[in-house]
């Protein structure tokens, strides 16, 4: 542990956590894992909650549920411990709740005790909840949203209804934040027209909220999947009022709505990569399975703003590059298009008629050399 972190911990030990200013709090959040953070301040957190519980409505759009799996895999604390410590009521989460949609003749039936469709409507009606969105929102075909229907209504409709009454909106995972894989360039991308909550790729004017005419700030937690710490600590900070929405957002989020404490604008994964030493020595793996720098295998860590290499994954024991896989820049707004081809060096991407910068430049340099040679011979011969 670095001296700086030790000093910070020492400082925090001697302070009343609840009186920490937002800046110090965010620093602590950035340094600690969720486990340390929630464990250290359990008592204070619980006693600090001015309201009995905070409701969370967690909606799933077009996605793989990987982000939910990621948070469920957050081992210590697990999701139950975190919910308990933060006094959270995870009121609605489609893959975790017991209810399911019940329809007769196309209409929802029974009560919210059994029918998830009625439950979500009731929760939205009650208001006072944090909305967590996982997955992209289909706008196609032709703005109808019919490419993603859950129960008997479009996800676009459900999202719009929930977003309109939410106290705070968190988009979790790259699909929800920027459209992700669902809106990658393809023959059908224009027809399906998947959108992120506040952005579609890098474009904030194409977020679903704008499409629906809802003007609410959003905290984006991208990643494919998002790290459990990023999700839990952000939710925790919002619940504890350490992130005041919307007042604090301008100072704690980057231009793509990501908390800079987890997605630092001045830092890339490459800088703390466990394989960085190999890069510095110019030692690169040419095929998967080696121990050297993965850059030549298409690693996008030099372009990815995330604290993966500091925080690590799977209980802080590993991360993609450590496990041997090149970073694919899954936290970046242009993902996956901006990271494709995943296993080709970024500068080797085709830029003109399929040729990459190196090839085109070498051709130009070669042509210049030939011309120079011919010119030189002619001049020497006095022609």
């Amino acid at each position: 542990m670095s001296t700086g972190i030790k000093n910070l911990l020492h400082t925090l030990d001697s302070l009343d956590f609840l009186k920490l200013d937002r800046r110090t709090f965010m620093k602590a959040v950035g340094v600690f894992g969720a486990t340390t953070f929630l464990g250290t301040y359990k008592t204070e957190i619980v006693s600090a909650l001015e309201f009995a519980e905070t409701k969370i409505i967690w909606l799933h759009g077009a996605e793989c549920t990987g982000c939910s799996e990621s948070i469920l895999n957050g081992g210590n604390p697990d999701i139950v411990q975190a919910i308990s410590k933060l006094n959270v009521n995870l009121a609605y989460h489609e893959t975790l709740l017991a209810q399911q949609g019940l329809f007769v003749d196309g209409e929802p039936v029974n009560t919210s005790e059994l029918n998830s469709e009625l439950l979500v409507d009731e929760l939205i009606e009650e208001g006072n909840y944090i909305l967590v969105v996982e997955g992209a929102i289909a706008n196609g075909p032709d703005g109808s949203g019919r490419y993603c229907v859950i129960g008997n209504r479009t996800f676009k409709e459900l999202f719009g209804k929930a977003a309109a009454r939410a106290n705070a909106i968190l988009a979790v995972g790259t699909c929800a934040t920027y459209g992700g894989i669902t809106c990658a360039d393809s023959a059908i991308a224009e027809v399906t027209d998947y959108r992120g909550v506040a952005f579609t790729k890098e474009n904030s004017s194409k977020g679903m909220l704008t499409e629906l005419g809802i003007h609410k700030p959003v905290i984006n937690i991208p990643g494919c999947p998002a790290h459990p710490d990023w999700i839990l600590l952000t939710i925790g900070a919002v619940i504890l009022g350490k992130i005041k929405i919307p007042d604090d957002l301008e100072t704690i989020l980057d231009q793509y709505g990501r908390p800079t404490v987890f997605f630092p604008t001045d830092h890339t994964v490459h800088e703390n990569c466990p394989r960085r030493g190999y890069y510095d020595r110019g030692e690169f793996d040419e095929q998967i399975g080696g121990e050297k720098c993965l850059w030549k295998l298409g690693c996008k860590a030099p372009y990815s703003h995330a604290d993966c290499a500091i925080r690590r994954w799977n209980g802080s024991v590993s991360m993609c590059t450590q496990a041997g896989s090149p970073c694919i820049a899954c936290v970046e707004p242009g993902f996956p298009d901006s990271a494709r081809p995943f296993y080709v060096e970024a500068e080797d991407k085709g830029v003109l008629l399929g040729a990459n910068i190196d090839t085109l430049s070498k051709a130009a340099v070669g042509a210049a050399t030939v011309l120079a040679g011919v010119h030189a011979v002619r001049r020497m011969k006095g022609e």
Partner: protein
């Protein structure tokens, strides 16, 4: 300016010109070599040494290009702002006359016509009217732009949050990149790194054109000596150089004939 001992030898490059060119050339070579080392992982040097050399060469190159060369250009000419601008346009900006020369050079390359003179010295004013090869005039503009682009892209590669006097220049550059990069399916940083690489290749290309096409010619080697060492050009070697002689003074009839003793053959023209 003509040295007193030989009126045909004139100063082609001042000491500052030569100093600027030498620093420029060395810095550029260091940047290209260390840049490719960093990019491609060449194993002839450690990453840290390459980076350190790279970062030493950057301010040298920028200082020469953005301070010394502009100072040279505008200090060497006499007169006011208009005269200085006219001097700059004549000497460094590709104009119609340069287009004609370039056309003749291309024709000559294909075996038609003579290689034109591109250095024009005016004996009356004692200064060059123009001295650069027309291709160099094109390259200078492109190179100036390339240096600006590679410097800007280099800032964010060096440090994402680079600031100058508290101004978040790095963030501004990245934000500007965000406007363009998505069109190339790249993130801003990715775009700038690619741009940096393209510009590096441009400098290699330019080096080949500059040294290879312009200078890899025994008759042009006199200019190598001039730019790196002597600064002088001997105008008696007329290859690629043309001297504008003073025009003969036109005398009026009365000046010629007003003294009856003179005969036309005795009138001496200047």
């Amino acid at each position: 300016m003509k040295p007193k001992d030989n009126p045909m030898v004139v100063e082609r490059y001042t000491v500052l010109d030569r100093t600027a060119h030498t620093i420029h050339a060395v810095a550029m070579l260091v940047l290209i070599i260390t840049g490719f080392k960093i990019y491609a992982g060449w194993d002839f040097m450690s990453f840290h040494n390459a980076r350190a050399l790279h970062m030493i060469a950057v301010p040298a190159l920028l200082a020469v290009n953005w301070i010394l060369i502009p100072y040279n250009i505008f200090s060497v000419s006499e007169g006011g702002v208009q005269e200085k601008i006219a001097h700059f346009m004549d000497h460094y900006v590709f104009g119609p006359e340069d287009a004609k020369r370039l056309n003749a050079i291309i024709l000559n390359f294909f075996g038609k016509g003579e290689y034109p003179a591109f250095t024009i010295y005016d004996e009356v004013s004692g200064h060059y009217k123009t001295k650069l090869h027309p291709l160099m005039k094109i390259l200078i503009v492109i190179e100036g732009t390339a240096i600006f682009v590679i410097a800007v892209s280099g800032i964010v590669i060096y440090r994402l949050d680079w600031a100058l006097l508290g101004l978040p220049i790095g963030s501004w550059i990245l934000s500007a990149g965000d406007l363009v990069a998505p069109a190339f399916n790249m993130s801003s940083l990715q775009f700038y790194r690619a741009l940096h690489l393209v510009m590096t290749y441009f400098f290699v290309f330019e080096l080949i054109v500059h040294v290879g096409i312009l200078e890899f010619n025994p008759h042009v080697w006199k200019y190598h000596k001039a730019i790196f060492w002597s600064g002088k050009e001997d105008l008696s070697d007329s290859r690629y150089a043309e001297i504008v002689k003073p025009k003969p003074k036109q005398l009026s009839d009365s000046e010629i004939w007003h003294e009856s003793s003179d005969t036309p053959s005795e009138v001496v023209k200047d």
